[in-house]
């Protein structure tokens, strides 16, 4: 999507088209000729996997929406009708439900890869921020979607999350009533959640286009973190990246199919097969696994408003990462101290996720508080200081030198 296209249209039609709407040239320069660093490892294939998963979710979702009824009295039953009477409805629904989890597995790998190799640093700050926006939109979409089956966890999850907004002083109560469309979570809430759940994936797709655009302007980062200097450092996107991404997408599909066909309910909650009942509160209200670290942060803080602010802050702080990390060296490969703190941060996130699934009592609250403090300290204290005090290893002269080593 940048620079002058080297595309030479072959057919008469494409020549005619190129003078009017150069879509062939756009595709060619973005996905064929686009130079990609030759040393990218398999962690770089998750962008392609994520695009694929977005497609899967949109296609299965659009078909599911043809059979779904967003009404408090009918939603649960319509989902069961999909499972029982719609041709391959069970397949569509399980692909869509486990697909959401797969989407998040891929996005977490993608985010941690970016953190490890410093992919957010100059000149990729906007690229990174667009990624954070996509992640936020994904979280919103996932939450809205989990409400739709209208089981017990759908209903109570929606109740707990929307109640966050009541924490804001003064405007809290009217704001929540406005969000609900009534004095409690009910049909109006479900109907608007359905509408938004259908809308947001297309907003995500739009931001993904910006994300890819920004990527193709700045160029991909790579495991060395140094920019390509000559043609020797890069290979054309097609066939090299295409076939590598394709291979990993197929591998990822094996994992996806394992869950969709054999463990379709593993990542959900049994309670969600109980129809929503406003009169009965489940023993433990637990969000989907991909929100658990943030749920732990929310509950670690005794004050509701501060808890909600910490929750949003823990995601919002990611947008400032390019400026919080003061190191000039991008890749953790050449940052021995950062590498250790990266893995420690990773462990803290897993720990918070585990605590988010536990009841907020006793030792769990204490642990959640310690890990929450560490989570923020990683961004606010450790990263700025590391850039100043860390002694980094020498960088290779070029990508091709680091790949081919003595051969070059």
């Amino acid at each position: 999507m940048s620079g002058h296209s080297t595309y030479q249209p072959q057919s008469g039609f494409m020549k005619w088209m190129e003078r009017r709407l150069p879509i062939g040239g756009l595709v060619h320069s973005s996905f064929v000729a686009y130079p990609t660093p030759r040393n990218l490892n398999y962690w770089w294939t998750f962008g392609g996997i994520l695009s694929f998963m977005l497609g899967v979710q949109i296609i299965t979702g659009v078909v599911l929406a043809m059979h779904y009824t967003p009404h408090a009295d009918l939603a649960f039953k319509s989902v069961e009708t999909i499972m029982r009477d719609v041709n391959y409805g069970w397949l569509l629904r399980y692909l869509h439900a486990t697909g959401a989890s797969m989407f998040f597995i891929a996005v977490y790998i993608h985010i941690f890869r970016g953190m490890y190799y410093g992919s957010y640093k100059e000149p990729r700050e906007v690229l990174w921020i667009l990624g954070v926006i996509i992640y936020l939109l994904m979280m919103a979409t996932g939450f809205l979607g989990y409400t739709l089956p209208w089981g017990q966890m759908s209903f109570w999850g929606a109740t707990v999350i929307t109640n966050f907004f009541s924490a804001f002083p003064g405007i809290g109560e009217p704001l929540v009533t406005w969000l609900w469309g009534g004095y409690g979570v009910g049909s109006p809430t479900l109907n608007r959640f359905f509408s938004l759940h259908y809308l947001l994936p297309f907003v995500i797709a739009g931001v993904v286009i910006l994300h890819v655009w920004a990527l193709h302007v700045a160029g991909q980062n790579n495991p060395t973190g140094i920019d390509p200097k000559s043609d020797k450092d890069t290979v054309p996107f097609t066939p090299y990246a295409t076939v590598k991404d394709g291979f990993m997408i197929v591998c990822f599909c094996i994992l996806f199919a394992w869950f969709a066909f054999y463990l379709p309910n593993y990542l959900g909650h049994a309670d969600n097969y109980v129809p929503a009942n406003p009169a009965v509160t489940p023993a433990h209200i637990v969000p989907e696994w991909y929100y658990l670290p943030f749920y732990a942060i929310l509950r670690a803080i005794p004050n509701k408003l501060l808890g909600v602010l910490a929750l949003f802050g823990s995601i919002g702080i990611l947008a400032f990462l390019p400026w919080l990390d003061t190191s000039k060296v991008k890749s953790a490969r050449y940052r021995p101290l950062y590498r250790q703190f990266f893995w420690l941060f990773f462990a803290v996130c897993i720990g918070l996720g585990w605590l988010g699934a536990k009841p907020a009592e006793g030792i769990y609250v204490v642990l959640a508080r310690i890990l929450t403090v560490y989570y923020f300290a990683h961004f606010i204290i450790i990263l700025p200081l590391l850039g100043i005090f860390e002694k980094t290893k020498p960088l290779p002269n070029s990508i091709s030198e680091s790949v081919l080593g003595s051969k070059a």
Partner: protein
């Protein structure tokens, strides 16, 4: 350092998990694992077992429990109890279905295969009033709506072993879990002590006793057999396309693994030019 962090993390998990497991172990025991014909990648429902389970449902459970999302016709669906069309029509005709006639008058007519199983109570309030304030749960999704906490690290192993039968295991344990209450446990009025029920006081009295339902296929008429048969039937009612799902899953898996292999060698061939 990486290893130290890993060790510390694991130790932290273990330390935090132990007291909870111990507590739960004392409170509510883990349901024992049952061997199910429908578990694992090649799982299938046992037709004879589903038919026995249906007999138990009809003669015992259906007196209180509805099954609103299952139709008579489903009894003849592939991968299910395997009734013939004629058998389904015969079963359906034994039920009375509330309907309106051509003049709009309320009538009761014999059931047809397209009808759904009628509920034992007119509505939820009636069901509540007749059962000590708690409506008996509907059977349509019940086997998937029940579970028990697996805890760390078992929930990770379950991904690899494909253990998905927490619900059925819990239901079997519950149906066999009626024992005398410990001396220090006060069972509230209207409650029945159950070893596996969270909180131990369950409104449902022991529903099944040995010899209660007659089997025509010579299967033992024991509580153990009854509980496994009815649970199998409940699992089918909750997941009627389970057999089709696992069969298609196997085909998809074989295809994907072969496809991944081909992609791998293609990738290797393409990249060999770059080095």
């Amino acid at each position: 350092m990486k290893r130290i962090i890993l060790a510390l993390t694991l130790a932290g998990f273990a330390a935090a998990a132990t007291p909870v497991l111990a507590e739960e172990g004392h409170d509510t025991p883990q349901p024992p694992r049952v061997k199910w014909s429908f578990s694992g990648p090649f799982g299938k429902f046992d037709q004879a077992q589903l038919q026995r389970g249906f007999k138990i449902y009809r003669e015992v459970c259906a007196n209180c429990h509805s099954m609103q999302m299952v139709a008579f016709r489903n009894l003849a669906d592939a991968g299910g109890p395997g009734f013939s069309e004629a058998q389904v029509a015969a079963v359906a005709s034994e039920y009375k279905i509330k309907d309106l006639d051509d003049k709009g008058e309320a009538v009761e007519r014999a059931g047809r295969p397209a009808d759904y199983f009628p509920s034992p109570f007119a509505n939820e309030l009636v069901a509540k009033a007749a059962n000590g304030g708690v409506a008996p749960p509907d059977f349509s999704t019940l086997a998937k709506a029940r579970t028990y906490e697996r805890g760390f690290p078992w929930f990770i192993f379950d991904i690899f072993t494909q253990y998905q039968e927490q619900g059925p295991d819990y239901i079997v344990a519950l149906l066999q879990g009626y024992v005398d209450a410990p001396k220090d446990f006060q069972v509230p009025p209207g409650g029945n002590y159950n070893k596996y029920f969270p909180g131990h006081s369950i409104a449902m009295p022991p529903p099944l006793q040995a010899g209660q339902v007659t089997f025509d296929d010579g299967s033992p008429q024991t509580l153990d057999q009854y509980t496994r048969d009815i649970t199998s039937f409940m699992m089918w009612a909750s997941e009627p396309h389970l057999v089709a799902r696992k069969r298609l899953g196997l085909q998809v898996m074989v295809f994907l693994i072969v496809f991944a292999g081909l992609m791998y060698f293609t990738k290797k061939k393409v990249w060999s030019a770059a080095h």
